[in-house]
Symmetry: C2
Subunit: 327 residues, 2 copies
């Protein structure tokens, strides 16, 4: 099987590649070729014996998508995109990458003869905007994004569904919840603290908590996110029906419950590294975000997230810290 991955240099992209290389197959077929693309050149995956193309390119630029699609990869994971904060600060860049890039990919597929790949697209719960039903967001809740990023993801979902409906591809869009614990350095994303309050204390560093610990949010680990992608790749047209864009499940909990998990797993001393420092701006931004995602259809279709936040913390310790906590 030949697999194309856009956004291959990103965090989820790298973890997906590592999983595919480790498994050696997808949907029961052996992975023989990988085309990995991103705006910067992706790393060559270690331990992969098949053929690899590394392409540093702007997917929205003329001719790029056609070139990537020409060898007809049977499976496409379309992960490429600029993140929420950047799309909000740079209007043109956000629409160029997140909308025009997606459309260029879909058009290249449509214009390639005798070709109907499976396309797994990572959307986001940013397609939703407050206010929300207190019982959680149902699968048939409307899309009222409150960011340009969310708008671009919602539009890409609609395009994917139309190309799917017309038989030009087999598509599935998965709306990722907040990925936690995100590895790496702290960043300036408004959502950064959800990961930061777990990641930094476990690494022996202080972390800032800018919101009240009553804030409720839905999380899935990077490991679960990769699991969603792999599971989505195996779903058939018949299983999905016409409504191919699905909110993914996650652990819905308060910040206080996140901190309780950290205490249970790493002890009070580690949890004491969290410093409460309220930030009005971040509080206001977070107030517009979805809290509880019901994800009933995704669960029924077999998508699996962690059952508790404890599992999310443990996944981070295993996958990123080699099992070790900074005491």
């Amino acid at each position: 099987m030949h697999i194309l991955i856009t956004g291959a240099a990103g965090m989820i992209g790298r973890k997906l590649i590592a999983r595919l290389v480790k498994d050696g197959k997808l949907n029961g077929q052996s992975v023989e070729r990988l085309t990995l693309t991103d705006i910067v050149e992706p790393q060559k995956p270690a331990g992969f014996s098949g053929s690899v193309d590394l392409v540093a390119a702007d997917l929205a630029a003329p001719g790029i998508a056609q070139k990537l699609i020409a060898p007809k990869p049977a499976m496409i994971f379309h992960l490429a995109g600029v993140v929420s904060g950047e799309a909000e600060l740079d209007f043109d860049k956000g629409y160029h990458v997140n909308l025009d890039g997606t459309r260029a990919l879909l058009e290249a597929i449509r214009q390639t003869k005798d070709y109907k790949p499976k396309v797994v697209f990572t959307s986001s719960i940013a397609v939703y905007g407050a206010p929300f039903p207190p019982a959680g967001i149902p699968d048939d809740f409307f899309l009222t994004p409150l960011t340009s990023y969310g708008t671009q993801k919602a539009i890409s979902e609609l395009l994917l569904a139309d190309y799917n409906r017309r038989g030009m591809l087999d598509g599935v869009g998965i709306r990722l919840p907040t990925i936690c614990v995100r590895p790496g350095k702290p960043n300036k994303a408004a959502s950064g603290f959800f990961s930061g309050i777990i990641r930094e204390p476990l690494a022996g560093m202080e972390a800032i908590l800018p919101v009240a610990d009553t804030v409720t949010h839905t999380h899935a680990s990077p490991r679960a996110a990769v699991g969603f992608l792999i599971h989505a790749a195996g779903l058939t047209r018949e299983q999905l029906g016409p409504r191919i864009n699905l909110a993914m499940p996650g652990v819905c909990c308060t910040v206080a419950e996140q901190i309780d998990s950290l205490k249970r797993i790493a002890g009070d001393k580690v949890a004491a590294r969290i410093k409460r420092q309220p930030d009005e701006l971040i509080m206001r931004i977070v107030a517009g975000w979805s809290e509880r995602i019901n994800a009933e259809r995704a669960r029924a279709l077999g998508f699996k997230a962690e059952a508790t936040f404890d599992e999310i913390v443990k996944a981070h310790i295993e996958d990123e810290l080699g099992g070790k906590i900074a005491a």
Copy 2:
């Protein structure tokens, strides 16, 4: 006030122009200039003393939207679009006109300095796709279009909302129900019979009913549609809030109830001109359409449709037939 109308040569466009000319003002301001554009040259409105520009052009073609926007019209009615059937048959044309045209208009607005017009956009209930809740479609129901036309309208709504949210314009999108009774000749649209079974018998001609008379649908007259546009133009940002795309109200009734209205108003002899001739294809298409639109927010915001289908039939007789029925 300077008003720009796209799709000015279409049925709703022509009726809107006639209404604006008759009223002489909009939102309490006198209408001094009209820019009327469409893919074919719109007619010069009769009885208008202000200045008129007639522009036959493709809104999506490079430079056209900028030229239309350059004199900074304070009010824009964006009605232009290819219809459902055509957008389904011609994929490229549908996306070009319905998506790229809208985006070109919005971009021209964004790139014009010191300019923030009111933009009223005609969307459609085609943004919805079956299955629907039996109690009717609520305002927070998700968008799962089952046509390329519906997809293009849904995407345009999302774009309009994002440009509105960022303060680049004051936008409102109105999802029109099926317009009935549509004047003019019968056409091949799958929805044509909803108007045909009223229009043709009233004009002394036979009409084909291709579906069961239990089919339920939501209708508004062309007069009501123009009323929606005028009302939308007067709504403020504060009244609308961030959710600016609204399903419009209408009369929800069965085909049998439509025929009962015709009988009450024009007599059994006229209604006998309807011939039942079931058509499997049309039945299948119509089965995917929305039946009952609740439109609670639109009603609360003061949008008014007819209260009964009798009123819709009477509006057609008054507005199109000079009060006369072919006995």
